[in-house]
Amino acid sequence: MFDALWGWPPPVLDPAGPYADKVTVLAWVLLALGVIVTAIVCAALWVAIKGPPRWKQRLGGESAVWIGGIAFPGVVLTALLFWGLTLTADLTDDITGNEQRIRVTGEMWWFRVQYLDEAGRVVMEDANEIHIPVGQPVVLELRSADVIHNFWVPHLSGKKDMVPGRTNLLRIQAGEAGQFGGVCAEYCGGPHALMGFVALAHEPADYARWQQARLQRLAGPNTTGGVGRQLFMESGCGACHRVAGTEANGLAGPDLTHVGTRATLGAGILPNHRGTLIGWIGDSQGIKPGNRMPSYDTLSAAELTAIAQWLEQQR
C-alpha cells in the first residue's frame, strides 16, 4: 500500500489508465488556473501599492469590482465546473454489462472484495487485492460495512467515498500490466493509516487463466489438510475467517480461501511469506495496533508455523 503514496514520479501524477489520465489533466488545469489567478492578484497588489495614480484610481473603481470581483470568477468558475464534470462524467457511468464487476466493501480496517457476474451474483470472494484485466473497463461497486471509508488507487483513478447504506460506482481501467498500491483515503478510526490494498492488472489472456484457476479451485473439494488445518479450526480462526471447502465460514475477517496467493498481508501492509504470516498471526496487535484480530501469542512457534504452512497452501 505504501507505493500508493510514495515513489518517483509521485503516483498521483503518474496515471496508468484512461480514467486516471482525466483526473490528472483536471489537476494540472486547476493548478495552471490557480497560478494565473495568483499572478493577477499579485499584479493588482503591485498596482495598488506602487502603480501610477491613474491605474490606482481605475483599480479602486466600481467597475473593477464588478469585472474582476464578480464577472471574471463567475464566468471562469462556472466554465470550469461544467468542463470538469463533463470530463470526469464517465468515471461514474452506469453498468452496461460489458465490464468486469467487482464489489469492494470497506471494513474497519481492510477491504472485502467480491467478484460479481453479470446478474450481480457473487462468484468469488477475496480480500485486500483486486485483480483486473488490462485495457478493459472495470466497474467497482463501493460500499461500507461500518463507517465512511474511501477507495483510492492513485495510478488508476480519483478517490471515491465508501458510504454505509449506499453503493457508489467507480470505473477504473489499467493501460498496462502491473501492481498498483491503493489506500483508504478517509480517516476511519484506529489503524486507518494501515488500511490499504493492491490492484493487480493482468493481460487479458492471463486474467482469463487466473479466473479459470480460481473457479476450478472453488469447484473441487479442499484437499489440503494436516496439523495446520486442525490447529486453525481448533483455535477458532474459522469463527472470523472463511476458507472455501472447509468448515471455516466466518465473515468478520478477510476471506482466506486464496490467502496463499496474496501479494500482501494485513490489508496491504506486509509482504506475504511464511515469516510475515507467522508474525501476523502471533502478534497482529503489535504490527497493526487496534485491528480486530487478537494476537495468538498463546500458540507455540511450532503451532504458528503449522498454521502458516497450511495457509500458504490456500491458493
Binding site: 515469516g275 508474525g279 502471533g282 503489535g286
Partner: protein, 137 residues
C-alpha cells in the same frame, strides 16, 4: 526513516560542555568504548536496511532504524552489534549471520525463526546493517 535516538551537545553552554566532556573522559577511562565487532561498508548496510524493510523482518522484531512495524514475536534487535552468540547458538561471524537470516532452522536446528525469502546477497547486506547498528547510549 529516523528512529535512532541521538544525543547532541552542541548549543549547550561552554561550561556545561566542558563538564560533559570531562564526564565522558572519566567514563572512557574506566571502560574503553566497545569496538563494534565489524565495521561494515556503509553503502551495503544501507542496502541491508532496505532489504530488512522489504522482507518484513520487523513483523517479528523491533529493529533500530525501522519505525514501523515493531512486532515482538522474535527478540528485539536493539544492541545486536554487541551480542554474543547468534540466537544464543551460532559462532558470531558474518557468514553465519547471513546464513541464519536466510534459513535459520537449517543452521540452527530447532530455531523458531522461519526461513525468509531473500537472496544470499540480500542476506549479507541485512547482516551488514545489523552489525552496523550502533545504539549504545
Amino acid at each position: 526513516m529516523r528512529g535512532q535516538r541521538q544525543i547532541t551537545i552542541t548549543g549547550i553552554q561552554p561550561a556545561a560542555r566542558l563538564l560533559a566532556g570531562l564526564c565522558l573522559l572519566a567514563v572512557a577511562a574506566c571502560k574503553p568504548p566497545e569496538e563494534p565487532r565489524y565495521t561494515p561498508d556503509k553503502a551495503i548496510a544501507a542496502e541491508g536496511l532496505q532489504v530488512i524493510k522489504q522482507a518484513g523482518c520487523a513483523a517479528c522484531h523491533e529493529i533500530p532504524g525501522v519505525t514501523w512495524p515493531a512486532g515482538r514475536l522474535g527478540p528485539s534487535l536493539r544492541g545486536f552489534d554487541d551480542i554474543g552468540l547468534i540466537a544464543g547458538a551460532l559462532p558470531n561471524t558474518a557468514e553465519n549471520l547471513a546464513a541464519f537470516l536466510r534459513n535459520a532452522p537449517a543452521v540452527k536446528p530447532g530455531s523458531t525463526m522461519p526461513p525468509i525469502p531473500i537472496t544470499p546477497d540480500e542476506a549479507r547486506a541485512a547482516a551488514a546493517y545489523l552489525y552496523g547498528i550502533d545504539d549504545d547510549v
